[in-house]
């Protein structure tokens, strides 16, 4: 088993980066687990971040990352599938690898994609968010892969290599690197059919029978990653210390509510990290 981190920060946007540098400044071991891209990078101009008049999102993000690098914050790129509390620790399923941490700071940003009809109901009953986790169960079965994940082509190829009959559903016209035996369907899923298990999907007004549907997105709903996490209108509920309803888990930035602004995110990142650090110091006293 790997060493236990003090604080695992999930998300590498402004809130996550701010949490990470503040954790370092409190002498805590910390690591950021994140996707490659952040929304801020795509923002053309940022006009309201104090001290950086008329800067581009890309430039500001580079400065943030540079700051974190100078403090030796380390990053791992990939997807967090599950976080589970076990005694006074958290186990994080990151790309099929277990990471242990004493406290967790969620800086997940917001999910722009809406859930599909019946998605929640059929999760684990034919619908999966994780090719590495469930892929082997669909050997010889008819499945579809759908979503905006950066690594969706690799995942589709991986599922195909496990022996599944893979259909890749996408609106993209220019697809590179996909295995030749994968069937490409151009379109959008408008409905998912099934009662106790997935039966099929509706795409371009046509019904396609399926055994499995892999919904691979860059972000997963917070309460799907952390079971029992309390949300309100899709945002994580926290108190003014950025504590969620689960002791040892903090949330900051866009994932905990509006306004979705950088200065709010960095401020909340600081509050979350400082309180996570305090929480860890208290754990030590108890032992």
């Amino acid at each position: 088993m790997e060493d236990t981190l003090d604080i695992a920060v999930i998300g590498g946007g402004p809130a996550g980066l701010s949490a990470a540098i503040n954790a370092v400044l409190r002498n805590k071991s910390v690591k950021i687990f994140t996707n490659a891209l952040n929304y801020l990078q795509k923002a053309e101009k940022v006009d309201n971040y104090l001290g950086f008049y008329n800067i581009s999102g890309q430039e500001l993000m580079e400065k943030f990352v540079d700051h974190a690098n100078k403090l030796n914050v380390s990053f791992e790129y990939g997807k967090v599938i599950d976080i589970m509390k076990y005694n006074d620790m958290f186990m994080i399923n990151f790309n099929g690898k277990i990471i242990n941490a004493k406290a967790v700071v969620l800086a997940l940003g917001i999910t722009k994609e809406k859930m599909l009809n019946n998605e929640e109901k059929l999760l684990g009953k034919g619908i999966s968010y994780c090719a590495t986790c469930d892929g082997a169960l669909y050997k010889g079965k008819n499945i579809a892969v759908y979503g905006n994940a950066d690594d969706i082509i690799e995942e589709a190829n991986f599922l195909s290599s496990l022996g599944a009959n893979v259909n890749y559903i996408t609106v993209k016209k220019d697809i590179k690197g996909l295995n030749q035996n994968i069937n490409v369907i151009n379109g959008i899923i408008s409905d998912i059919i099934g009662d106790n298990k997935l039966e099929g999907i509706i795409i371009n007004d046509k019904y396609i029978k399926l055994d499995g549907l892999f919904l691979l997105r860059n972000s997963i709903a917070p309460n799907s990653i952390v079971k029992d996490l309390i949300l309100e209108d899709g945002y994580i509920v926290v108190n003014r210390n950025m504590e969620t309803n689960i002791k040892g888990i903090y949330a900051c930035g866009d994932c905990k509510g509006k306004p979705l602004q950088i200065s709010k995110a960095t401020g909340e990142g600081l509050v979350a990290a400082q309180n996570a650090a305090k929480y860890i110091d208290k754990l030590k006293e108890m032992i």
């Binding site: 599938i81 986790c133 082997a136």
Partner: protein, 104 residues
């Protein structure tokens, strides 16, 4: 000592017939969340010793059972009361979710 059983199809049927409360954890050796759940299941086996029979079934070794119970994601935990499937808990969950289902 608390004991976790690893039954095959016939043994599982026997266990279900003869015990009022049975927890079955369907898992796979390659499944990370299953590994995360494992210590939780062990704890439950200890705490509920004498009250619950805890079984673990490797779905790759027991494909027939996995098909019979329609396992499409691992881990899947099924709670049986008097040989009846009363709750199916899919994915990795906190310990309380399993113990609540047992206590009900």
């Amino acid at each position: 000592m608390s004991e976790i059983r690893h039954p095959n199809k016939e043994e599982l049927n026997e266990i279900l017939k003869n015990n009022a409360l049975v927890l079955v954890d369907f898992y796979a050796s390659w499944c990370m969340p299953c590994k995360m759940l494992s210590p939780v299941i062990e704890e439950i086996a200890k705490e509920y010793e004498g009250k619950v029979v805890v079984c673990k079934i490797d779905i790759d070794e027991n494909e027939e059972l996995a098909n019979e119970y329609n396992i499409m994601s691992v881990p899947t935990v099924i709670i049986f009361k008097n040989n009846e499937n009363v709750e199916e808990i899919i994915g990795l969950n906190n310990k309380s979710k399993y113990t609540r289902a047992l206590d009900e």
